[in-house]
Amino acid sequence: MDLEQARNHLDLARKQCDKAATDSWEPQEPASCVTNVFYAYENVIVALAECFTIKWKKNHYDKADVAAQLAKEGRITTDVSQELLRLNTLRKDVSYGEPGHDLINEDLEGLVSELESFIDESDEILSKLEDQETDEDG
């Protein structure tokens, strides 16, 4: 368990979420928004993996598996594994060039709002563990 690493990843996720929120405003920037949301989710999953000493690899599919494991073990209420895989495809559509049909029709504000809730839930988990660690040290 490395709570310092976990906090670093969660802080990154918050910054990416802020960026995505700005991207969701008019004039919208769907490519940047979806990419930031995707990386933010991955950073939250890595943060939670660090909280519960789950091994993770620098691989998108592996992080989706960790997300499923976290939900299965009851560590978090939402299983975001399918959302991670969907976002991975969505952001790739634009990395080839122009945004595709699916990306243009994505509800960006909704996407950011769901991410925010997920970050908040994860922050509560991490804060509790940080408090426990402080108590034990004290």
């Binding site: 990419t35 990386y39 599919y61 060039g97």
Partner: protein, 242 residues
């Protein structure tokens, strides 16, 4: 399905999933799997074309599906987009209901892709990578820089009348036209090789900018202006909302 595509389990799984609706669409294997240059980290890229937009297709893990309608695909070819041009030149049809043959026979399929579009695509990715470097996410910025250098490599090749092949093949291609440094950078980003942290990413960032300006200073400047303008508008909105 030919023998090569039959050997890819993800393609087989996808084809099983579309049983019954095969008459409405064509399926083409694209990307590194089509060139047999895929690595263990590669996804299997499949292009699906239909007359009407397709929904609810069952997509197996590790398959990246690109969907397009027949009309949109032709429009993209006509506009000089290189992804569509790649598909018609190097894609391997897995299932053709007749649409793919029709596309290949169209004059749009012979259009040489625009290298100038790659400047815009490359610059857009570079700005995103730069933001990720700034907030301190090296893993994400390395991935965005891989896309950036890929766009630059394709732009340089197209400008030199060389058609870009699959991602792993780009390095030899750009080396052959005189850009060994770009080849080395792209390879290091693609293989996730250990780098010297932020310094390597900063070098990639600066070198990418230099190459984009070298490709077309005018297009790069216009693209930067556009991005900066959007940024300013949003900063203004953010300030007003507080």
């Amino acid at each position: 399905m030919d023998r090569a595509t039959e050997l890819i389990p993800e393609v087989k799984a996808f084809m099983r999933g579309i049983e019954g609706i095969g008459n409405d669409l064509c399926v083409v294997l694209v990307g590194s799997a089509a060139r047999e240059t895929q690595t263990e980290n590669s996804d299997v890229d499949l292009l699906v074309i239909s007359k009407e937009p397709t929904t609810d297709l069952d997509v197996p893990r590790r398959v990246h599906l690109v969907r397009a309608t027949y009309d949109d695909f032709l429009k993209q070819l006509e506009r000089g987009e290189d992804f569509e041009a790649w598909c018609v030149r190097l894609g391997v049809p897995v299932h053709d209901n007749g649409l793919w043959s029709e596309i290949l026979a169209r004059p749009e399929s012979k259009v040489w892709p625009s290298w100038r579009k790659k400047v815009v695509h490359g610059a857009t990715r570079l700005f995103l990578a730069s933001e990720l470097i700034e907030i301190g996410d090296p893993e994400a910025s390395a991935e965005e820089l891989l896309y950036t250098t890929g766009h630059i490599a394709r732009g340089l090749l197209l400008k030199n009348n060389v058609f870009p092949l699959s991602r792993p093949e780009l390095e030899d291609q750009v080396r052959a036209i005189g850009y060994p440094h770009l080849a080395a950078m792209h390879q290091q980003l693609r293989t996730n090789a250990d780098n010297d942290g932020g310094d390597f990413l900063r070098r990639c960032q600066l070198y990418s900018k230099r190459l984009l300006v070298h490709l077309s200073a005018e297009d790069y400047r216009n693209c930067s202006k556009e991005i900066e303008k959007k940024k300013r508008t949003k900063l203004h909105k953010k300030a007003n909302s507080k």
